[in-house]
Amino acid sequence: MIRKPGRVLGALIVLAIVLASLCAPLLSSQNPNASGDDMLSPASAAHWFGTDDLGRDVFTRVLYGGRVSLLIGVGAACIACGVGVPAGLLAGYAKGWLSVGMVQLIDLFIAMPGLVLALVITVVVGPTLWNLMLVLGLVQWPGIARLVRGQVLALRDTPFVEAAQALGGSVGWILFRHIWPNIARVVAAQFAVAISVAIFTSASLSFLGLGLPPPTPDWGSMVQGGFDGLAFNPWLCLGPGAAVSLTIFGFYAMGRSVE
């Protein structure tokens, strides 16, 4: 752990962001959805990032915006792993048509434009919290499945797996007692990357106007809302943008340890 400073840095950033969004009521005394009288006021001591077009405090909204993003990110990563890991185990361990079919399916979906698919499917099913988690999780399963498959392939012919097979172990027992413990670390790292990708995509969706409906504080739609005011108060747009970038960076660094 200590030998990988990137991971530690990522974990610290993630911890700080989780704390900041959970303790938002302690860090800011203002209501994220309460509109005030001074609209579009510049950054000041009272409003660190200024106020938006409805007079809401942008800094407070950035703090609260973390809750939705983290929830969607973790939920989507759980769904992606829930589908991707069994699919990868199957594709790697099975032989014959089942394996060929799974690999074909993974290859078919892996190069597909995740953001475009998520965009169009969200339009059809409607942008609710559950739907966003499902869509952002499902567009990520092929990547996880391919990673797991590669890991299983490397382990399938090792002596300890052959020994387990020789003992007459069932497929489930071999996969979960012998193969899974050896790939759990890799999957855990990929779980963090999946969270970062889900947050990236969900922020892009809400920037394009397909996030959770207002007034939920949401980083992507805040960037969109502040974009036209870039010239007179850059914080309106770049503040929430920096928050989402930092979150994505934190999870990414946790998963992919920096060289």
């Binding site: 059809v124 990236f200 394009l208 974009f227 870039l230 960076f249 990414y252």
Partner: protein, 311 residues
Amino acid sequence: MIGFILRRMLLLLPNLVLLTFVMFAVMTSWFGSPATMMLGRDATAEAVADMDRRYGFDQPVLVQYARWIGHAATGDFGRSFASQQTVAALLAPAVPVTLELSLAAILLAFAAAVSVNSLTIARRVITPMVTAASILGVTVPNFMLGATLIYLFAIRLRLLPTTGWVPWQQGVGPHVLHLLLPVITLCAFYTSAFSMVYRAEYRATARLLFVCVAQAKGLSETRVSFRHILPNAVLPVITQAGLSLGQLVGGAVVTETVFSIPGVGRLLVAAIGSSDYPLILAITMMILTAVALANLLADLLYARVNPLVRI
């Protein structure tokens, strides 16, 4: 080689049919009739039923899919629901814009990643900078990078135009100036991704015996790097480029929206905004097909430079 191309193409067709059919079914029937989407949730049942009949949404998915493909094959993608223009007429001016933006971004990313990581001068200074930039490149979303670049270069420094698009016909200079920030925004992610892949491969290749021989013969560092290591380390970048094409389209949608570029991506976002179902369907189908074809192209290119995979 010809056998390989034919095999790959034969595989492409069923894949493409499966993909587009699933997407078609998702959009037209699995989650309810598109009529509800176009007329709004408050529409009366009669209005929805009437539209279902008029547009054929009440027929089985397979029939609708076959009819849509049949029309699309002749270049007829239907009529936009919002503007009543044909979808083909709306798409025609948008496609070249998106192609130019995406191609420029991916070529620039490829050239930048390969050349910067092959440089032998000042490697001690450049390497950590490239590492830092790579991490930023894959973690900062396009909309944030675009907004930051606009703020810095267009609003603060007043060097470049903020947003918009000027066609070639109205002057090459303004065209390139308007293209500069969007291309940088779009290519940042790919430069970083390619850079990571290329660097790992470059290091592995640099340890091989033939590099040692080249150095022992007294060739200059630059010549060894660019003429001997580069051609052998560049292959995985081509694979990576093929795999990234899908993401490139997603990035183009966001980038075009940020910079108000009249490409396919912004057309899609506008179509979504106005619930223009025929347009959304046509663009989605087109993107799926284009990505599948581009993947095939990347595979063929890879086979062309690496004879081992042709078997």
